[in-house]
């Protein structure tokens, strides 16, 4: 059951509600679902950002205040019950190849695996979206096989659009070119952030995701760039 550990009134217009201090997929999903409830029930909020263990809130300072909000949120939470939902599933094509993956060989070496083994392990796992953030369309995916877990790079570098990366026990795709410190093992030719679409990204917290290994020909056909 979702329980408030503590609430911090951070600034004039923001507060952060903490529900735990350990990253657990289930907790992240509960917080995300509670966030949807807040969003639908409360009009005085300008931002509601769920994370693994917390919920960040920015509010209209002329319409409400932190104390009143806190009371309302506690009331909503006491009536909230997490429902296991059948979540949508997304399959994304990935070209796993050093052509587009500068760190694939290194990551395989570090983990005493062959490239084929890395691809096989990574593409046979089902992941879950636990958080959205960093940049638009960037989804943190939990469930990485421990055999692939690899620390962040020492120094961030420029990463190409669509790059599939690994950092510690997470995996994610950079929807656009960006500086980044994750080890890049492949590239996804599908668009993951498009302002013309509603919603602007196919990812949603709770959704399951898997990756399908594709050939160079298919990658190029789908608009991938080498």
């Amino acid at each position: 059951m979702l329980e408030i550990k503590h609430i911090v009134h951070q600034s004039e217009t923001t507060l952060c509600i903490y529900f735990g201090d350990v990253i657990e997929t289930e907790l992240a999903l509960e917080i995300a679902q509670f966030t949807e409830l807040l969003r639908s029930q409360m009009n005085d909020l300008t931002e509601v950002i769920p994370s693994y263990t917390s919920l960040f809130i920015e509010f209209h300072i002329l319409k409400t205040d932190a104390r009143l909000l806190e009371k309302e949120i506690r009331e909503l939470l006491s009536a909230f019950q997490y429902k296991h939902l059948e979540n949508n599933h997304l399959e994304l094509p990935i070209y796993y190849h050093p052509d587009v993956a500068p760190d694939l060989i290194d990551l395989a070496d570090k983990n005493n695996l062959t490239i084929d083994q890395v691809v096989q392990i990574h593409s046979q796992t089902t992941y879950r979206v636990t958080s959205l953030g960093f940049a638009p369309g960037f989804a943190y995916l939990a469930g990485l096989d421990p055999r692939l877990a690899t620390p962040r790079l020492q120094t961030p570098k420029n990463v190409a659009k669509g790059s599939l990366g690994i950092a510690d026990h997470q995996t994610a795709i950079y929807p656009n070119a960006s500086p980044g410190g994750w080890s890049i093992i492949g590239n996804c030719p599908a668009s993951l952030y498009d302002l013309k679409l509603d919603p602007i990204t196919p990812f949603k917290i709770g959704m399951t995701v898997n990756f399908k290994s594709i050939t160079k020909e298919v990658f190029l056909e789908k608009g991938g760039i080498i």
């Binding site: 951070q10 004039e12 769920p50 959205l132 953030g133």
Partner: protein, 301 residues
């Protein structure tokens, strides 16, 4: 449609309204004017809504030609503005006749100038806002030869207004910024934060301002990523803080030592690289009171 033409673009010129709210959970930055105080005054002088689109001009050196008569306001950094050859004052409204050119020099005091026009510039809206956020691929920096639209032909030059001098900051004399310190913070760290001199680094942009401490602060362990407030002061392992601004990432995992009072934030964003600043504590109550006054005065939201 009436137009201004950018004859020569500044290094960074971009459309900004109050910002894009309600999309941070998708990873979108809010954007919005990096100096909200100057943006709001520019619109206020023209009796525009505070959310009317202005052009944020950073570092200066640009020229715009009026294709029809128009009424504009300039606020923020001092850029020695001229209309044709005639110098015009900052923090004021000015009438520009068809064919005249508004020229801005390099920024002398402060960094960012706001150019507002009666009824606001016509800028494309994305998710309800015209704010440019380059790192989210929303809008782009304005280039030379761009024609900018606005919806009104000014007919008179009566009623020109100026910002009263007590509301005009001296961006060259910024030394202290008030900070809402993180609740329950170690008192030794708090003492250190207050005593330390911080230098504003060249490595600063609309995402954040990097500060170099004269003695690096003791490193704090990271936290589980969470949403970040505007003006939050992160302390990465280097011991040199980063103040997060309008185009910040939506979540972060560095510990925070405090949050700059909203009312003081424009003083930081206008302070030039190599300026030395200190932090001074302010209570959340006091900061809130001052912020509410500002929000009420400009009728924000």
């Amino acid at each position: 449609m009436s137009r201004l033409t950018i004859i020569r673009a500044a290094p960074a010129m971009q459309f900004q309204d109050l910002g894009r709210f309600g999309h941070s959970h998708m990873g979108l930055s809010q954007g919005g004017p990096i100096d909200l105080h100057a943006h709001c005054w520019a619109n206020y002088l023209l009796e525009n809504d505070a959310n009317a689109t202005t052009i944020e001009i950073s570092y200066g050196n640009c020229a715009l030609r009026a294709e029809v008569d128009c009424l504009i306001a300039l606020t923020g950094a001092e850029m020695n503005a001229r209309i044709d050859s005639k110098p015009v004052t900052n923090w004021s409204c000015h009438f520009i006749k068809k064919g005249q050119t508004l020229q801005l020099n390099y920024a002398k005091k402060g960094i960012h100038t706001y150019l507002a026009i009666q009824h606001g510039f016509q800028a494309p809206k994305v998710l309800g806002s015209s704010s440019t956020v380059v790192r989210n691929q929303i809008g782009e920096l304005l280039k030379s030869e761009t024609q900018i639209g606005y919806s009104y032909n000014a007919k008179s030059n009566g009623g020109l207004k100026r910002t009263p001098s007590q509301y005009i900051p001296d961006y060259d004399s910024i030394k202290e910024l008030r900070v809402i310190l993180t609740d329950g913070q170690d008192s030794e760290l708090t003492d250190l934060i207050i005593k330390t001199n911080f230098t504003i680094s060249q490595q600063s942009n609309r995402m954040g301002i990097n500060l170099t401490a004269d003695q690096p602060l003791p490193p704090l362990s990271g936290i589980i990523s969470e949403g970040i407030s505007l003006g939050a002061i992160q302390l990465p392992p280097s011991g040199n803080p980063i103040v997060l601004l309008n185009d910040r990432q939506t979540q972060g995992g560095y510990a925070k030592i405090g949050i700059i009072a909203r009312i003081d934030l424009p003083l930081l964003t206008q302070a030039r690289p190599n300026t030395i600043i200190q932090f001074k504590p302010i209570s959340l109550n006091q900061a809130t009171q001052e912020w509410v006054e500002f929000v009420k005065f400009f009728q924000l939201f």
